[in-house]
Amino acid sequence: MTNEMIWMVLLDGLMAAIAAIGFAVISNPPRKAIFVSAILAALGHSLRFFLINSGLDISLSTFVAATFIGLLSIAFARIIHCPAEVFSYPSLLPMIPGMFAYRTILSVIRFMQSTDTLQSQHFMMDFFHNGMTTLFIMLALVVGVSLPILLFPKLSFSVTRKY
């Protein structure tokens, strides 16, 4: 790993942390959970960035990053006595494939407007490519983050218990 690469990964983590804080406050979380979600988002997103740059495809790297966030979130949940979802969801938000989702709808509209057959085929391919990517990233996010919750249900549903 070169120096430049390390720098890029760090920058990516920082951006993801800022993004996670902002998207977290929309849903009014407890104060302490905001910082945890920033840390988790930074770790998760920079892990994903690193994996994508090492040649893994985007949905698989998302899955790995989301599982990582899920595992860490249960550990943090036991420390600060909050449900894990409260900070694992906001830390996933920077990974939500908003851009792909939006391109999917864009290509549908272009397809509808286009009169040229060749162009229509092109937009059709765009639609499926972007739509499938959106779907698989979403599935990877959710399955990844809830895998630890499904594996240790007792543990993750009793984190707010104090005794």
Binding site: M15, N28, I105, L139
Partner: protein, 230 residues
């Protein structure tokens, strides 16, 4: 779902069995006295449209365990419930600033340059401000999403029209991403995976219609600015 477990736990503390179904618009609940199964009560209640509030989620979960472990008296549970529900939300000006910064950082994640990020910051600021005002006035949420997507993208699109920076198209595309309903999307897939398929699909349809509204707002702005492709 967490809510079913928590409510059932609280009911158990007071010696009742409980069954609960959650739908998009209503909740159906039956409680049965454990000692006298003939005594039961069923009610269907409308769900008030609430905004996401993780503090309430977290504290109610804590309350349910406290009730279970400490056998709190009913009055105390009720009073702390009302206390939790009526808490104030975070200062809306601070939220506005943080959301704008977040979306600018988001633009950076998509490789937007610094000028693009500045445009996104102000666009998001305006868009989210419009959203806060309209939510306060209880306007239909589809209209709210369309309008704030329109406001945000028309401001971000100015950078495209006057040709500043190298990545105006990224600024335009990521200016509306703060509206994407991420938590409902995750929740809906989680519900489907856990077997609550009906509510999961309801939430998915809800999230999709919001995304379509965002796209409509964005396209209207692009039409007005005369931008052909992105």
């Amino acid at each position: 779902m967490r809510i079913i477990q928590n409510v059932a736990r609280m009911a158990e503390t007071f010696g009742y069995d409980l069954d609960l179904s959650v739908f998009q618009m209503s909740i159906m609940m039956t409680i049965i006295d454990k000692e006298d199964p003939g005594k039961l009560l069923t009610q269907i209640r409308k769900i008030k449209p609430l905004h996401l509030n993780f503090t309430i989620v977290s504290e109610l979960s804590t309350l349910s365990w406290d009730t279970y472990d400490k056998h709190l008296p009913f009055d105390e549970v009720t009073s702390s419930y009302h206390h939790i529900i009526n808490q104030k939300r975070m200062n809306s000006a601070l939220v506005l600033f943080l959301v704008a910064a977040a979306n600018a950082a988001f633009c950076g994640l998509f490789r937007g340059d610094f000028i693009a990020m500045t445009f996104v910051f102000f666009a998001t600021f305006a868009g989210f401000f419009v959203r806060q005002i309209m939510i306060k006035k209880h306007i239909n949420h589809l209209v709210v999403f369309t309008t704030s997507a329109f406001v945000a993208s028309i401001l971000a699109g100015i950078g495209y029209v006057i040709h500043v920076g190298h990545t105006p198209e990224i600024a335009l595309a990521s200016s509306v991403l703060f509206l994407i309903p991420g938590v409902p999307m995750i929740n809906s897939i989680l519900d489907i995976l856990e077997g609550h398929i009906l509510i999961g699909i309801a939430r998915l349809v809800n999230a999709t219609s919001l995304i379509i509204c965002i796209a409509i707002g964005l396209f209207t702005a692009m039409l007005i600015l005369g931008l052909e492709k992105l």
